[in-house]
């Protein structure tokens, strides 16, 4: 799980941004606390995405319901971190890297929360697909999840695995403030988009071949779409890493703004 990595890597994060070097120790603790809260939220969202996918692929209704219910926790974490950041802004007037940390956190948690919402879609569609199959099984032999119909779900599994791994890498990069890794993930988003397109084509073909399955095929399409969106939010997270560490805005394809620069010079005067 990502949480273990976060704990292992937390020292790297702290050293890189010198979060523990403020004259005010209380300020150190506050920034550290924000960081911990965000990483906890990231870990929860990652679990939601993985559990949602698992519920969808294994038609696990209990797990699907659990994912739906747990979204509330994700939402509450967003509120909590937002409030914490507002307090820091009001009381500390952070500047430079501290300011960038708070700004990037406020933006990151919005993306994390949206990823949580996408995970809920897996849960809801898992339930609908399972129920749809049950009712269709009684009147049709050619149900979506069976034999040849299982193909789109396999494709979805492939896309899901890829997105889940990317999210994991992004959260690790977030924990380590690893700009190089973040830039690689941003570039890799194309692969997810391509896989999503392939998946969509496959589903369209399937719908044309068997119009009775359009309902279920659409549900799978929505899930694929949700995965693609999670990929986009993951890219956003990586863009915030670049902003936080380098102070450069690489959103909307402004990758030319970044030539990874050495960290600020340390001098002995």
């Amino acid at each position: 799980m990502i949480t273990d990595k976060i704990i292992n890597n937390s020292s790297g994060f702290t050293t890189k941004l010198y979060l523990d070097k403020h004259i005010s120790r209380r300020f150190n603790e506050e920034l550290e606390q924000v960081r911990t809260l965000v990483m906890n939220m990231g870990a929860l969202v990652e679990q939601q995405v993985n559990d949602g996918l698992s519920a969808l692929l294994n038609a696990d209704l209990d797990l699907a319901q659990k994912v739906i219910d747990r979204d509330n926790d994700v939402n509450n974490m967003e509120l909590e971190i937002d409030e914490y950041c507002t307090k820091i802004l009001a009381r500390r007037q952070p500047a430079a890297s501290d300011l960038r940390l708070i700004v990037s956190v406020i933006k990151s948690i919005t993306d994390l929360e949206r990823m949580g919402d996408e995970a809920v879609k897996f849960g809801k569609n898992a339930i609908k697909l399972a129920k749809g199959n049950l009712s269709e099984n009684s009147c049709s032999e050619n149900s979506f999840a069976e034999t040849e119909g299982a193909r789109p779900l396999i494709e979805l599994k492939h896309l899901g695995n890829h997105v889940s791994k990317t999210l994991n890498r992004a959260l690790t990069a977030y924990a380590q403030m690893d700009v190089q890794q973040a830039l690689i993930i941003i570039k890799d988003d194309k692969i997810i988009d391509e896989e999503f397109d392939n998946n969509s084509r496959l589903l369209v073909t399937r719908m044309m071949e068997n119009p009775r399955e359009i309902k279920n095929a659409l549900r799978v399409t929505w899930c694929a779409r949700a995965l693609e969106r999670i990929g986009d939010h993951t890219t956003n997270l990586c863009e915030y890493i670049v902003y936080l560490v380098e102070g450069k805005d690489v959103r909307h394809g402004n990758m030319n703004r970044i030539k990874v620069t050495p960290p600020p010079l340390e001098i002995s005067v």
Partner: protein
């Protein structure tokens, strides 16, 4: 990551951009010594015309010393030795034939503590105009006093008691009186050495608003200990550390992504 390793390098030159497109005042390779102790090490920078340049840095970093060089206030200190080029509109301000008193009329100064003369409000503002003989008669002098007080945002508060002593005003009003006194001799540059550090937040806000208006007519250099104040009022920020100019650049850049670790440490309240 490779670039995690922080290099230990000697600070040889300033990071960022010291040049202004239209420089009102240019300083090149300034060294200042108090006796054998060097207070300023090879500082070069431009003061951009009609803009506010903030000089920031920890106590004893030389920012006030540097500011005082800009209107030859350090001339009064015998052991102070200044080298380097200081030009105002391409004119050497340390030229032998240049009268420092006239220079100080062109480059005015406002200090940390309001220091009105123990005279009336009117006489405080009229003082400079009188000694420089800028006006021919009482009517002209009245005019100068009124416009100066208006520019300093003080006129409406004191117009009915111009004969009252300047020392009877509140701290914030006294500071604006000093600004009016500076403006009265029509300077080109106004130097401010922590002009709001002895004032409450409201008086500070009024002074800052005033600085913003004054920059339309004057070039301003301000020394301040308040990071937020530098961020609010200035267009350019110069960070001094142990007598060296570490970094200079646009204020928005300095406060969001400074290039130098020392600048970052200072403005974020880290110990370096």
């Amino acid at each position: 990551m490779k670039n995690l390793d922080i290099k230990q390098v000697e600070l040889t030159e300033t990071v960022g951009n010291i040049y202004a497109d239209s420089a009102k005042m240019s300083i090149r390779n300034a060294d200042v010594y108090y006796g054998s102790k060097q207070a300023i090490h090879n500082v070069s920078l431009d003061l951009a015309k009609n803009q506010v340049t903030a000089l920031i840095g920890p106590s004893g970093c030389g920012k006030s010393t540097f500011l005082r060089c800009l209107n030859r206030m350090n001339d009064t200190i015998d052991i102070c030795n200044i080298t380097g080029e200081f030009t105002l509109d391409n004119q050497d301000i340390y030229a032998k034939n240049l009268d420092p008193v006239l220079l100080r009329a062109r480059v005015g100064m406002v200090f940390q503590k309001p220091n009105p003369f123990p005279k009336s409000i009117y006489d405080n503002v009229a003082y400079g105009a009188r000694i420089h003989g800028l006006t021919n008669n009482k009517a002209e002098l009245d005019e100068v006093v009124e416009t100066s007080l208006q520019k300093a945002g003080l006129f409406n508060e004191v117009k009915d008691r111009l004969k009252d002593p300047g020392t009877g005003l509140s701290g914030g009003q006294q500071q604006r009186l000093c600004i009016a006194r500076t403006i009265a001799v029509s300077p080109e540059i106004i130097l401010m050495d922590e002009p709001a550090s002895a004032l409450d937040p409201i008086a500070t806000a009024i002074i800052e608003e005033l600085i913003d208006e004054l920059k339309e007519k004057y070039t301003i250099a301000i020394v301040t200990h308040s990071m937020q104040q530098a961020a609010r009022v200035s267009q350019h920020t110069a960070y001094f550390h142990l007598g060296k100019l570490v970094e200079m650049g646009k204020t928005e850049d300095i406060f969001t992504h400074p290039k130098h670790k020392l600048t970052e440490n200072y403005i974020t309240g880290r110990f370096g």
